[in-house]
Amino acid sequence: MILIIGSNHDDVLYYESLLANPEEVVILDKYHVFTGRIANQEAMVLQDVYTSFVSSMLLMHIIDKFVISLIINVGRCEAITESLEVGDIALSQSVVFGDVDQIAAYKGTTLGQIPGYPRSFNVDKSVIQNISKSLEKIVEHKFVNATFISSSFFRQNKEQVRDVAKDEYVSSLNKYIVLDGESAGIALVAQLNKIPFISVKVVEAKAGNYTSLDDYCSVLEETAPIGKAISNFIGEISRTDIVRMGGQK
């Protein structure tokens, strides 16, 4: 089953509409998720995931109850890198916690690192490559591989994550850096459970800048093409399944 996670309903609107035979499942008496099939693949669409605390907790629970083969985190992010424009699309190549400082707690720990865990969580290259192929075909906006810094502060600004973003290691990971709220929690749990994951997000604003509702609506326009590309990517997996299934017959 492919798990698609978004912060709010607008993030997952497109995916929810793709679900064939959708069924509602309530998780932990609070989260209403939908399961069904997207492009011939079992899929689950989860929303209302704010912060890495919630994303890691929910993901751990879902992995315990369902067989998850891939996690796709969708929605919107903010750009730290100046050259990224509103509407550009960021694919997570690596993910770092933006609000963790355990340097003094454990020797050898660096900023943004949880003791005993890597400094950054890296995304499987083949997942990035295949999603990139689909994006290339469908979306008009620029899409880039980026380092995602996740922080639980809403409307993050550069100041709050300045130290992490300026860290030599983090800045060496990728030319582009974006901010979001829940990727790191997902990355942490995905890595523990050895499940591939990726975050595909559209840049909503420069870090710390306010997005007007009209701007938001224009960013919203981007969600459908990205959704189409992701469903195409899922379809690629599915299509191969159809062909292989037919071949076995």
Binding site: N8, H9, D10, L13, Y14, S17, A39, K137, S212, L213, D214, Y216, C217, L220, E221, T223, A224, P225, G227, K228, S231, N232, G235, E236, S238, R239, T240, I242, V243, G246, G247
Partner: protein, 1015 residues
């Protein structure tokens, strides 16, 4: 249901009578028993009986009296007083009754507790008079829960709802979606949107009506604290209730359009009209407050409430004399008034934050507190970001009231949480945009439940107090500021003076003025003091709003007004020296745009240099409306803002000229018609996103060519004539003055205009792609591609987009009829016999779900087939796999209907992304056309195997297979699979061609070359 007994059902009389009767009976019985049992004489018996009866009766009376006392204590006091006190508590009323039996310790303790409770409630000034639902008074037609109401019922009862409500403000909100012909049909979707409303709009007695057109909601929201807060909540709501629109080729996420009006800003009878006006603003969030001059707070505060009690709280301030010398004593009175208000309304803390001009800091100047530790300590510095946030979120009446923490704007939420504040009010004192102080009354761990009158009393108190504070501070600061300003003017070299607009008397002047006019007398009006005149100058800039040329001591000067503000009673004038007689300046001093004289000069230079190009004038059609909205600055401010915001992208083209007060000019050297149309189109799109106080500029674009033989005067006259001739155009149009050619400035309008023009006049343009059999290499069909051209600029336009716009704007029938007319005409022209003789068995045309969803699609297709007696599957409509996936329901029904009348559908751009071949066959599709992407990867062995598997599936399901985009011999040769035939097309065989060429090619290929191919 069994009737429950009430203590009141037993009357006090019955109780007393019963008790007396029982006492007497008991006494009588005991007396009789005793008398019968005793063995004594009759006299003794009678005597004892009488004595005993009297004694027992007395005992009974004693019992009755005590019983009455207990009744008094337990029933009258215990139940009735308790009942009264509990009811008072429910209504948050502090008028508790005392229990009278003070001889009991327990009763005294209870009385003490109620006294404490009374004091507590008294200090908090809580009121719950609005607890009774107003909805009960209005005959609303609910649907299920008492929050869902029918749209008609809400609209019909709107006036009653507002009239019955005791609310301070009432909002009517429209949430709608631009869904075109689609509707919100899913209960899940509408329920989800309601859940979001419930989450973000946590207000009592909200009513929600699902609109009858099923494209949105109408929400009635009584009693909210802050317009800003509600605006913010609506913004958050709008960010999670977007929907998918299935129009066009693909799905599109669309945001909700939220519009709001507020009573009493909108008149009770105009709420719905104003809501429509709000919707017309056509932004994502539209808030319409009809009359900006309507000083809501003052009007409502001072007309509809009894200010007696409030006035008493602040009566001391009447004794204030704002003389700067009495500043300290005045401040003491102000502080006392703040304390009175805080005590009366029961706030934990009240105080005043003032701006320290010397150190440029905000300091908590005064605080009073009923709790141990004041919420903000006296003398503490206040974070200026907090003050800025308050200035942003405050209401138009300067106050920011919040009854509980839920309804605090996020902008100040952080600071409110740091202060651990639960409820309160901030009253922001400003001078212009500068905040100069904040009066505050705050509570910790206590919500406010004021009714409208309490709230208004509080705001009125702040309003009066704020006015006095401003006056006291202003008088003191003016003394300081005046002194400093004069010093600055003295040391500067500016010839600046200020005069009263009505009397022309000097308010202040710089020393340079005195130097310029040797006989200057500052006590006289300016015309007398400077020029020795007895009346204002004939060309006075104040009257004529133009620069005045002035000759002083043989030198040329220009006098003009600066910092123009109609609300300022003072006019500020600047005298500037000129070189020679040149009055005109390269730049307009107020807008800093290139002036008309610069335009004249530069155009002359262009002509002198024998250059050719175009002048583009952008005239703001709705300048009058914009100027009335922006209020300050007038036309010049408008033109400057327009140039700064809209034309910033075009600065590379050269200077931006202020042609007149509502027109901008651009001189574009060597530019083509196509490029200038592109620029106009871009500007039109930018204008849609730019607004002057919620009013987008509407432009007329005038284009005039200039050639080396033209004179500047001739061009300027033509431009002026053009401005006059085309000033009343209804639409935003681009007009070429020389040829009188006009077209819509917006891209969408233009595309639609071109399509309608072409289709209504039956000027069809098409290109053809021949389709070949892979085995025989003969042409078995053609794909017809409708095209759209702008002949004027000889440019091919995006036909698919034009068609999509036509469908979106309800003009789809024109496109559909045009396509069928064209097909009819084509078949009639060549006759079906020709197609038979050339073995052409298929005419294909690409369509989408919009096309097939048109109501007369099947009828038209049937007419085409029957009229021309076409064989089955001769007409073939091609649709994308993605489109099928996204509009599966449409195709599931239409494809089978089309098959029944002999028309086939094929799926193009097929990649097996959504459907297996068998699924498509089941839906009635008869052919799959692989996408170019699939073909590009055919050299990959794995992909080839996948493709052949799908091919085989198609064969099994009696479906044809075709490939498009074959562009090389190598690709052509790779399309081989076990001898199965398929259709092929692409540049390798034939490039797209026009109709004549296509039919010539068919003849040559299928008739002349047939023998050659066979051989």
């Amino acid at each position: 249901m069994a009737k429950k007994l009430s203590l009141n059902s037993y009357s006090r009389k019955t109780f007393v009578l019963l008790t007396v009767l029982l006492g007497l009976i008991a006494a009588l019985l005991v007396t009789l028993i005793v008398v019968i049992c005793l063995d004594i004489s009759l006299v003794s018996r009678v005597l004892i009986a009488v004595l005993l009866f009297i004694a027992l009766t007395a005992l009974s009376v004693l019992v009755i009296v005590k019983g009455m006392q207990f009744y008094q204590l337990y029933y009258k006091q215990g139940i009735e007083i308790t009942k009264h006190n509990v009811e008072s508590l429910v209504n948050l009323d502090r008028s508790f009754e005392e229990y009278q039996s003070k001889e009991f310790d327990e009763i005294n303790k209870m009385n003490e507790s109620f006294k404490k409770l009374s004091k507590l409630l008294g200090s908090s000034t809580l009121s719950n008079s609005g607890a009774v639902s107003n909805l009960d008074k209005v005959p609303l037609e609910f649907e299920g829960e008492r929050v869902f109401v029918r749209e008609r019922s809400l609209v019909d009862n709107l006036k009653s709802l507002v009239l019955f409500s005791q609310s301070y403000r009432i909002a009517l909100i429209d949430i709608s979606y631009d869904l075109g012909t689609e509707m919100i049909n899913s209960r899940h979707t509408s329920w989800r949107i309601y859940q979001s409303m419930k989450h973000h709009l946590q207000y009592k007695e909200m009513l929600v009506a699902f609109k009858d057109n099923k494209q949105g909601f109408l929400v009635y929201l009584p009693s909210f604290d802050s317009l800003k807060q509600l605006e913010e909540e609506l913004e958050y709501l709008a960010r999670e209730i977007s929907l998918l629109k299935r129009g066009g080729v693909t799905k599109r996420a669309i945001g909700a359009k939220v519009s709001m009006v507020v009573y009493p800003y909108s008149d009770i009878d105009h709420l719905l009209d104003d809501l429509n006006k709000a919707k017309k603003q056509n932004k994502a969030l539209n808030i319409y407050v009809p009359d900006n001059d309507f000083n809501f707070n003052n009007k409502l505060l001072f007309s509809s409430m009894n200010l007696n009690s409030t006035i008493k709280l602040i009566e001391d301030i009447a004794s204030i004399d704002p003389d700067p010398k009495k500043y300290q004593s005045n401040k003491a009175i102000i502080h006392r008034s703040i304390k009175n208000i805080a005590n009366y309304f029961g706030f934990n803390s009240g105080g005043y934050i003032s701006y320290d001009y010397e150190n440029e800091l905000f300091i908590n100047e005064y605080v009073c507190s009923s709790i141990e530790e004041p919420i903000i300590k006296e003398g503490n510095q206040i974070d200026p970001k907090f003050i800025d946030a308050l200035a942003r979120v405050k209401e138009s009446g300067s106050s920011y009231y919040f009854a509980d923490r839920i309804h605090v704007n996020n902008e100040i939420g952080y600071y409110v949480d740091r202060l651990r504040v639960s409820s309160g009010i901030f009253y922001v004192l400003s001078r212009g945009n500068k905040v100069i102080g904040v009066i505050y009354f705050l509570n910790r761990n206590k919500d406010l439940s004021f009714d409208a009158y309490m709230k208004q009393s509080l705001i009125a108190s702040c309003h009066i107090l704020g006015g006095v504070i401003k006056e006291v501070d202003a008088r003191r600061n003016v003394a300081v500021t005046d002194k400093r300003l004069n010093e600055i003017l003295k040391v500067s070299n500016m010839r600046l003076y200020s005069i009263k607009k009505d009397t022309y008397e000097f308010v202040r002047y710089s020393d340079q003025i005195r130097r310029l006019f040797p006989k200057f007398d500052g006590s006289l009006p300016c015309y007398k003091a400077m020029y020795g005149l007895d009346a204002p100058c004939a060309t006075c800039p104040l009257k004529n709003h133009k620069h005045m040329k002035s000759v002083i001591e043989g030198q040329n000067y220009e006098v003009y007004q600066v910092f123009s503000n109609k609300d300022d009673p003072t006019a500020h004038m600047l005298i500037q020296g000129l070189v020679g007689d040149e009055v005109s300046s390269r730049f307009d001093n107020e807008t800093m745009l290139s002036s008309f004289s610069a335009f004249h000069q530069d155009l002359s230079n262009q002509l002198l240099a024998e250059a050719e190009g175009k002048v583009l004038l952008l005239r703001i059609k709705n300048s009058r409306e914009i100027v009335s909205k922006i209020k300050t600055g007038g036309y010049l401010s408008m033109i400057k803002q327009f140039a700064d915001n809209v034309l910033v992208k075009y600065s590379d083209f050269g200077e931006v000229y202020q042609f007149n007060n509502s027109t901008i000019g651009l001189i574009l050297h060597g530019i083509s018609d196509e490029k200038i149309l592109e620029i106009c189109q871009e500007i039109c799109e930018i204008c849609k996103d730019f607004e002057f106080e919620e009013q987008s500029p509407k432009l007329i674009y005038l284009v005039k060519n200039y050639h080396k033989d033209d004179s500047v005067q001739f061009i300027e006259k033509a431009l002026l004539d053009g401005l006059s001739k085309y000033k009343n155009e209804d639409h935003e149009e681009i007009v070429f003055i020389d040829t009188d050619y006009k077209r819509s400035a917006s891209l969408e309008g233009y595309l639609l205009e071109q399509l309608l023009l072409a289709f209504k006049d039956k000027i069809y343009q098409t290109s053809f792609i021949p389709l070949l059999s892979n085995n025989s290499r003969l042409i078995y069909g053609v794909e017809i591609i409708p095209e759209l051209y702008d002949v004027r600029i000889d440019k091919k336009l995006d036909m698919e987009r034009a068609a999509s716009i036509a469908f979106e704007r309800g003009q789809g029938a024109v496109y559909l009829n045009g396509i069928f007319d064209y097909l009819n005409g084509l078949i009639s022209k060549y006759t079906y016999a020709f197609f038979v003789s050339t073995e052409i068995s298929k005419l294909c045309i690409k369509v989408d779900h919009n096309f097939v969803s048109e109501p007369n699609f099947i009828e038209k297709a049937k007419e085409l087939v029957n009229k021309n007696q076409l064989p089955k599957d001769f007409i073939c409509f091609e649709v994308d796999e993605t489109d099928v996936h996204e509009h599966e329901d449409v195709y599931k029904s239409i494809v089978k209907q089309a098959n029944d009348i002999g028309v086939m559908f094929l799926v193009r751009e097929y990649e097996a992304a959504y459907y297996q071949v068998a699924q498509l066959a089941e839906m009635g599709f008869k052919e799959i056309k692989f996408s170019e992407n699939t073909l590009a990867l055919i050299s990959d062995q794995e992909r080839f195997q996948e493709m052949t598997f799908l091919w085989l599936e198609a064969v099994k399901n009696q479906m044809k297979v075709s490939f498009t985009g074959v562009d090389s011999r190598k690709t052509s040769e790779s399309i081989v699979f076990e001898g199965y035939d398929c259709g092929v097309s692409g540049d390798y065989y034939f490039k797209p061609m026009d109709e004549n060429k296509a039919f010539e090619t068919i003849r040559e290929r299928n008739m002349k070359d047939k023998d050659n191919l066979d051989n």
